[in-house]
Symmetry: D2
Subunit: 395 residues, 4 copies
């Protein structure tokens, strides 16, 4: 294999967003409908702006797939922009007053320009469409080794859903999440969803914006994905990098996360037990009465669900504007308003879920090698068999 | 230049820990005393175990430096282990009962062994000595462009220091931190330090362990370090990956961090102003009345101090043991006790500060290129001049 | 900056070939006509097959460029395939008999298939259209620092052009090359071109194919591009990797190349002299009476033109067929004929020139850093000034 | 796994040369005697200078190995320098007159110094001791999957050994090579060795130096190592980069190499046949009547031996000196003489063999994944079984 990687390109109002995924094995059933479904989910959620009504994101596969299956070559996923006007100065005029919280000021200085447009077009979160496409593609591969993900909104401002997401019950939450206007799986009551929507409505009235907490859970990982041997190969390090690399994210937690600081070790670490009835699963029968670790120990999966939580700050583009400076004159000015969302936390939950999935897929590729799914699946099964047979005769 | 990178090697009870730093420019004054000082600080802090009394970490420079100055080639930093006994089965016997919270179980499965020793020797946080050495070396380079860092302990369990760390006042805090048994710059009162020490004492009595919060602040970064163009080049993504990659870290925050979820945008984003009297500094005169962003916007520095906060979970090795399983028999057993610390949050503050510094140095190298400090400094100055002259005639 | 890299995607009969170029500074004038000109040149040359009459390669820029100038973000270059039919089994049927010399056999085993089509579509040299586009884009950047390239055909089979290509005279050769049906700059006489064409004509009659030697010369590099510090950062190593990575290349030489084995040191190494009248050029006045080193010493440019020579083997698809095996039956069979060229050495000269240019551009980015051409050019000039001022006061 | 990589550090007269190898699976029997044997061979060969009498290179393993076996963590190999004096200005004085053909001039300009010492210490081929150690370590891993290498001297100046090296007979050549003063396996006659030695003797008299051709053959590779999917993942590209990255190499060829330019396709490509009696070997029974491709097609191994040829130029340090320039005064001067060899082609054959082996090992790691040799070997065998069973039911 070549290593599983992805890179994106594209501007918010350029012709297209693209993701180039390299290192996918041959023989993956590329489920374009599924990818498009995730793109649609990314466009949804209560509180989104006008842009989402203009675009209907659909992926076009320009390479790497033949008759619905990957052939081992790089896969180019393209999402065309309907609202393409980057070269038209009248329609995408220069912006000289940077928005606090956005890339505008730092980017303009970095590129030695006073037109924030030059940076903001790439810095825009519209780029996450390409990341979602890449992650959703990775999930087509993960299916074959029984790994699935579930992402949702945990909190918007002070409205928090306190429900649990467990290995045995998460599937029933998918429909609940999908029924929620804000992607919060709060089910029949819908109480959390209702509070979140109310917060967003109020923010709109206030010409303000709101952020929140999103979570992704990954089920079916065997112990041993990731590595403890190099800091940059640790799965937790990669997850943190990938999640913090999403536009507007300011915190990443794994498992109990920040709360780990506030409990003694005896209340944090998850006791290990062995349940022979579950030794046939990917967990190999190693079970935990809690999952405070969020499924990673020493930078590797431990067989429990991987749990990642991200904090999205409020959108930086406020209808009320923010105090800023004109970069040409250095005089005080109110920041420009680019068409934007009031709250994009729902979309962020989709982005994070797919970004997390990609990192898991990368770790799967590294663990099992192989160039085709036939080989990957054989090696996955062989690893579990060997692990179940421990101690090895020669081990 | 080649890219600035580092890699570590070495086991807890092997002959040595090493860091291989590649891409350092020629002409850096390598301050070995400073590096050793950071190594000593890493060994300190109230609550550490017996190992720190055995070792006196000192760095040996095996390559890349001539007569005290770097020559542009890879720099190998070696920290010898006095307690070297990896090959001696009597002194480092097999461990068959994994400690919850440590790499033991996941690593043993991954490597198809039932001897947790094979993984734990590398997974041990003793490896952070090498990371501290690499980061401290990077700081020797950063000095030349006026960038400095300050790391400290913010909280241990529920004892929190609520003080502020500001650009104008942080220098006075260094001595206060250094006077604190737990590296908390709480100054004359010492109230926070006292509570933290009490918590550690109690944890020892309880045969338990405690974690906490650590912070690193970076001063003197000009706007434009890092990048918004690729997710993996974003400075915040790299910082998060580097910090989460430290042993036992479970959360990373930048600036206001998780709190961003709980405030509206108008209370999060930092208004931009221009103060001509400060245009001669690295900030170019762009000043903020708050620094909730923690110095990064759009994945780039914005001229304000970079603020990173990490959560360290409690040490996974508890004197009281934890419920676990014998990997050979699959029977319940209490986890083994390897000599360990009650609390290593102070050490973690040193590790994080230096790890953060390395990522900043990496971004500096990428921004300014060059092969020698003469060239790096010239290019740094030229960039600031050009930025001050905006708008450029051709810009 | 992010590092300057490129990656390609696309199959021979898929929808498109693409190149994703990351790390280009902002402010490069992207000369689409020039890129298209190189794509046209790649399609030309005596001895090409029917495919080149079907396609008229034109680049479409999907990202990273606004109003004709790069903005620092990843640049996606797309070349659409007119002959797109990868999913149509009737038009791109399975191939079960691998062609000796092609990727067919090794690729089919690797991907555990007996349909060579799955590999050959990506392995096809049509992919070089994307590489040419990436390299030609890089040359738009190189122009700004005075670096230019010249690629041509040196030999086809036993017809060799013995002319010299020197810094002072190469410009006059461009028109001669462009006037030659095989891209050999043999000028008025056209004797070499005539012999090469005759060889190709005869090969066609013989249902055979022919290869040859191609050269790329790079002018205007200052001393010090590349690095001697890591083997993988050496410019000669990168050039060799990039050139050997072109389809059908089996040898790479720098400067005198293989001939270095057959001369004593005193007849190989290029005496160094200093000519003050040339100190204003990129060579800084360091002149050589010969250029056997081909412009690199110790993995770095030395101020003399960089000279790279590649050997292209004959095309692996012979009209006469070759002895092979049916992968399904393991019985002897004659290899399949896919529409192909008799000789593609002319095209290969275009590919190699652009591939070499990209590696030079990569080294330029590493040496000078910077995010915009304003900054890159300032740092380039500053480096030359500092170098001219050696010894530095502090050096 | 983490990816298999290596990096070296160390100066010619610094304390040590080191190689840091990352990504080696656990369970490799690390044969230190074998590694030391290769280090000794690197020091030998007729025509070497005084340095080789000072040093007795022995590897010290500082990490990654426990009781003779790798444990999956980074392995640091250290070769101490007896002649360590880098910091002593009297013993390693500044050098102001660069040697043509060496890194001296380019490196001094790059690093803005007039003391060539600063660059030449790292640029020196003494660094190849670390590369040999890394490659020899990789061969300890390759043994377990039946892959072996054989490197030797093909020519020194115009003395060429014309013998063949075939899969069935190469083992008998090992002793012949080892009996030759110049590592040329010319056996009983010793005619080529004798001529080579005579050439070296004459060069010494002439105060000159000589280069030559070296070859490495790799046996036992199954089809499908490497990749055709990305140019930078192609095995031939990586081999070329690694070999050209060796000090003083100016050409790399695979298989027939440059000669491919001078033969028609029908005389170049290797007919494919299937021999059921050999289907149990790594070749899977795919046999060739010739091996002009040198074992790679489309950037992947094809089951035939991999054959790489490198050209080493004559040593750049001539006892007679070469015309050069004093970098401080810019006046003409004769280049300085650093203690050096007359001919190091024998050593280069050892370096290239081990460097080639490392790239093969890297491709093995990528193809089979896995974290321990138990897993790697299981996956290797499973791949061959699957390949032998082609066409797969689902394929």
């Amino acid at each position: 294999m070549s290593h599983l990687t992805y890179q994106t390109a594209g501007e918010s109002h350029g012709p297209a967003l693209v993701a180039l995924v390299s290192g996918m094995p041959a023989g993956v059933d590329v489920d374009v409908d599924f990818i498009n479904g995730e793109l649609s989910r990314r466009q949804g959620g209560y509180g989104r702006g006008a842009r989402q009504r203009i675009e209907t994101d659909r992926v076009e596969v320009l390479s790497g797939v033949r008759r619905g299956r990957s052939i081992g070559s790089p896969i180019l996923l393209k999402v065309a922009n309907k609202d393409s006007r980057l070269d038209d100065l009248a329609k995408t005029p220069p912006v000289h007053t940077p928005r606090p919280g956005h890339a505008d000021m730092a980017g303009s200085v970095k590129y030695l320009t006073t037109d924030c447009r030059e940076t903001l077009e790439r810095a825009s979160a519209r780029e996450t469409a390409a990341r979602v496409a890449a992650g959703a593609l990775a999930r087509c591969m993960l299916r074959a080794v029984g790994i699935e993900t579930f992402g949702f909104v945990r909190a918007i401002l002070d409205a928090t859903w306190a429900g649990e997401v467990a290995e045995g019950s998460w599937r029933s939450l998918v429909a609940e999440r999908d029924a929620s206007e804000v992607y919060c799986p709060d089910g029949a009551s819908g109480a959390a969803t209702e509070r979140m929507c109310a917060i967003i409505r109020q923010a709109k009235i206030d010409k303000d914006t709101v952020g929140g907490l999103v979570e992704a859970h990954v089920f079916g990982c065997p112990p041993g994905l990731g590595s403890t041997m190099n800091w940059f190969d640790r799965l937790d390090a990669r997850l943190a990098g990938a999640v913090m690399g999403i536009q507007a994210f300011k915190a990443v937690e794994i498992g109990l996360g920040k709360e780990c600081a506030f409990r003694p070790g005896s209340k944090v670490h998850d006791p290990i037990a062995f349940d022979p009835s579950r030794s046939g699963t990917a967990s190999l029968g190693f079970v935990r009465s809690s999952n405070n670790a969020g499924g990673t120990e020493g930078g590797m999966t431990n067989g429990a669900p991987v749990v990642v939580r991200g904090t999205m700050k409020p959108i930086a583009t406020l209808l009320q504007g923010m105090p800023s400076v004109d970069l040409n004159t250095k005089q005080a000015a109110t920041s420009a308003y680019e068409r934007s969302d009031i709250c994009a936390v729902s979309a962020a939950s989709v982005v994070m879920e797919n970004v997390v999935a990609f990192e898991i897929a990368r770790a799967v590729r590294e663990k099992f090698g192989g160039d085709s799914m036939v080989e990957v699946e054989a090696q996955y099964r062989r690893y579990l068999e060997l692990a179940r047979g421990l101690p090895l005769d020669r081990g």
